[in-house]
């Protein structure tokens, strides 16, 4: 039954090649992602109702507990919303002659393959298979990043595949070292890369090898997460990809790579008996990412690049929270992952509508969004404030819990620096972006009125989600998040 969660996106991805009509492609796309959504949410519901801790399936290769079910649900919900949006987006581009049926087929097929690889990352418990899946996420999305095939898109795609492949190769070295630290002890190569086995026997692993292994894995998966100074592929890829793909890259791909770090972090911390060693590195990289993003956001001329730097900032926030490693911080980190996934995907989807209307990615060329695109403009304006961390939106509440956790754990200087950098980022985002919303001298070719109707409905739904979870978290969701956070901080 659970196996279908993996099979559906894979089959959907292949199914597109049987259809030659636009309508058929759209139907397969919606049906595939809706089915995946139903199955994943159903599995989660049953998991909560039965009160299970975890379960394995398919020769112990796959494993679900509340942590990866949480990640899985984030991925499938965001992908479903993005799939609905993509129908309208691709239709608009088709009408303007920017793509034909075969390119649309390629887009859909690769997108679903991309979703499959992300689902694979979060549902496997074998760390080797997880590495393969994280590398596969890059491979599935390279042509999506270079989708428009012009100079900039090809440059972004080349940087993306080279930098991420090298980074992930370094993570493989980390995983090989982790494997070495177990083979000498247990000698059974069958399950020595299984997370549950490593977690149960974490105390007996060789600490000094694990420490080196963690450095390689942090640098490797950190490249994919976009932590400074390994972030250089991220702004290019996010700005050049079609907007629905930017939404998936930023909203859920970065989270799945961060999930890889979390699993290893838990084992290393359990082995070392404290989080000081890993915590220092994670907090330093986190603060560096937030600071670098604060600097780079100010001079940005391209609104998608600006949002990409904001993604770097938010990944920094999550890394910082994981560095603190108290139960409250782990809760904050997971809650922040959820909030960032929804808020940032919503913003990238809004930029898609703006791009369809104005045909430009430059902030300076865009004025009067509120008048031209009333709904998208409103959602985008509120979303900008949400991502910058203004209450009542959910990003504010998770940032607040991370700040509290930081001071409770005694990291006063780091907490203070964190707040200052967040304030700088807030000022940077708001002062750069506010220009596009007002003004009258819009060109003649831009006529008022919404484009991409289904997409506009999607972004309004997303806005409702982030506004509601900011004020009130349903009890079940809160308990589920706490259980997932307990798995992380259980490694103390």
């Amino acid at each position: 039954m659970e196996m279908f969660i993996l099979l559906i996106p894979l089959v959907t991805s292949i199914l597109f090649w049987l259809f030659h009509q636009k309508k058929g492609l759209h139907i397969v796309n919606i049906a595939g992602s809706a089915l995946l959504l139903l199955l994943a949410v159903g599995t989660t519901g049953r998991f909560i109702a039965l009160g299970q801790d975890s379960f394995v399936f398919f020769f112990d290769l796959f494993y679900f507990d509340s942590l990866n079910l949480f990640m899985l649900d984030t991925i499938v919900i965001v992908s479903f919303l993005v799939s609905v949006y993509a129908v309208g987006y691709l239709n608009e581009e088709y009408e303007h002659g920017l793509l034909d049926i075969s390119k649309m087929k390629l887009y859909y097929s690769l997108t679903h393959a991309f979703i499959f690889t992300m689902v694979l990352v979060v549902s496997t418990q074998n760390l080797g298979l997880m590495w393969i899946a994280i590398e596969a996420t890059t491979l599935a999305s390279v042509f999506l990043v270079g989708f428009y095939n012009d100079k900039n898109a090809v440059e972004a795609a080349w940087k993306y595949i080279i930098i991420c492949s090298v980074g992930i190769a370094l993570a493989l070295l980390g995983i090989v070292l982790l494997y070495i630290s177990t083979v000498g002890l247990f000698g059974d190569p069958h399950n020595s890369l299984s997370w549950v086995f490593l977690y149960e026997n974490a105390g007996q692993l060789q600490g000094s090898v694990l420490k080196i292994s963690f450095i390689f894995i942090l640098a490797g998966f950190g490249t994919k997460v976009g932590l400074v100074p390994m972030h250089t592929w991220l702004p290019d890829a996010h700005s050049q990809a079609p907007s629905p793909i930017s939404a998936l890259l930023s909203g859920v791909l970065l989270n799945s790579a961060m999930y890889g770090i979390i699993r290893i972090l838990v084992i290393v911390n359990k082995n070392l008996g404290s989080s000081v060693y890993t915590g220092r590195m994670m907090m330093a990289l986190g603060l560096l990412s937030i600071a670098a993003a604060a600097l780079f956001i100010l001079p940005q001329k391209d609104y998608k690049r600006l949002l990409a730097y904001s993604s770097i900032e938010h990944m920094g926030i999550i890394a910082f929270a994981l560095g603190i490693f108290t139960p409250l911080a782990a809760y904050g980190a997971l809650f922040h992952m959820l909030n960032h996934a929804f808020t940032k995907s919503m913003l990238f989807l809004c930029t898609g509508n703006i791009f369809l209307k104005y045909k430009s990615r430059e902030i300076a060329k865009i004025t009067g969004v509120l008048k031209i695109l009333p709904v998208t403009g409103m959602v985008f304006l509120l979303g900008i404030f949400a991502i910058a961390g203004l209450p009542p939106f959910s990003v504010f509440s998770s940032e607040l819990s991370i700040i509290i956790a930081s001071f409770e754990a005694g990291h006063y200087w780091q907490g203070a620096a964190f707040i200052i950098f967040l304030a700088l980022v807030f000022a940077g985002i708001v002062s750069s972006m506010l220009k596009i919303f007002y003004g009258n001298n819009v060109g003649e070719q831009v006529t008022p009125g919404e484009v991409n109707k289904p997409g506009t409905v999607v972004i309004v739904i997303m806005l409702c989600i982030i506004a509601v979870t900011g004020l009130y978290l349903p009890v079940q969701l809160g308990d589920f998040l706490s259980a997932a956070a307990g798995i992380i901080s259980g490694g103390r």
Partner: protein, 218 residues
């Protein structure tokens, strides 16, 4: 047995020095093929030994796959790509070759000192193995940043992967076979995608000089 493995790991390291000293793209590809062939022998030695002691065939299977992919298929793919996009021979490196070789020596020393400080790894054969194979990883990385052409970066990436396989083979007798297979599929797809992108770069920039990819900054 250990003598063979010691000398093979050293030969793999030396082949990566040869790579850094190569000037032309075709000679990189030849050196890469030579290095992969050494890796095949290494996997063969370990595989036969494991087959004789435990009766397990998995490493021999891995050895055959490396032979098919890294010695035969990927070099041919790269050669075809080069023939299609390379019109004239140009200087392809930022640093002089002697400086490059010296930097690689420094990298090996760095690896030696770092490995020596880690307790369970700094004794016996595993130290030699780790120093040699992690040096290959770092030299592959250095090679990637020292060449201007896109093909040079692909070769650097492949050498880096060779270093990783050597590490896994020598210190842990290879990873579980399902993981190895997955890694080969990933590697193959990655190289094929990079090959396609080389064509696209050539179309858009009229050269495969990575230095010209400078539109996106800041």
């Amino acid at each position: 047995m250990e003598y063979y493995l010691d000398s093979l790991s050293l030969l793999i390291l030396i082949s990566s020095f040869v790579l850094v000293a190569n000037k032309r793209i075709n000679s990189y590809i030849k050196t890469f093929r030579l290095q992969s062939f050494l890796l095949v022998i290494l996997a063969g030695v370990i595989g036969v030994e494991k087959f004789l002691t435990e009766g397990a065939l998995d490493i021999i299977v891995v050895c055959v796959i490396i032979l098919a992919l890294k010695v035969i298929y990927i070099p041919r793919l790269l050669k075809n790509t080069v023939n299609k996009v390379e019109y004239k021979v140009e200087k392809d490196f930022f640093l002089n070759i002697p400086i490059g070789v010296l930097i690689c020596c420094a990298l090996v020393m760095l690896v030696y000192y770092s490995i020596s400080s880690v307790v369970p790894m700094n004794s016996g054969h595993s130290q030699v193995y780790l120093v040699n194979s992690i040096s290959v990883v770092l030299i592959g990385l250095f090679f990637m940043i020292s060449r201007k052409k896109a093909i040079g970066q692909i070769i650097g990436f492949l050498v880096l992967e060779n270093g990783l396989f050597t590490t896994a083979m020598l210190t842990a007798n290879g990873m579980p076979v399902i993981i190895e297979l997955g890694m080969f599929i990933d590697l193959l797809t990655a190289v094929m995608i990079m090959g396609v992108l080389v064509f696209k770069i050539n179309e858009n920039f009229e050269s495969i000089d990575i230095n010209k990819l400078r539109n996106l900054r800041g």
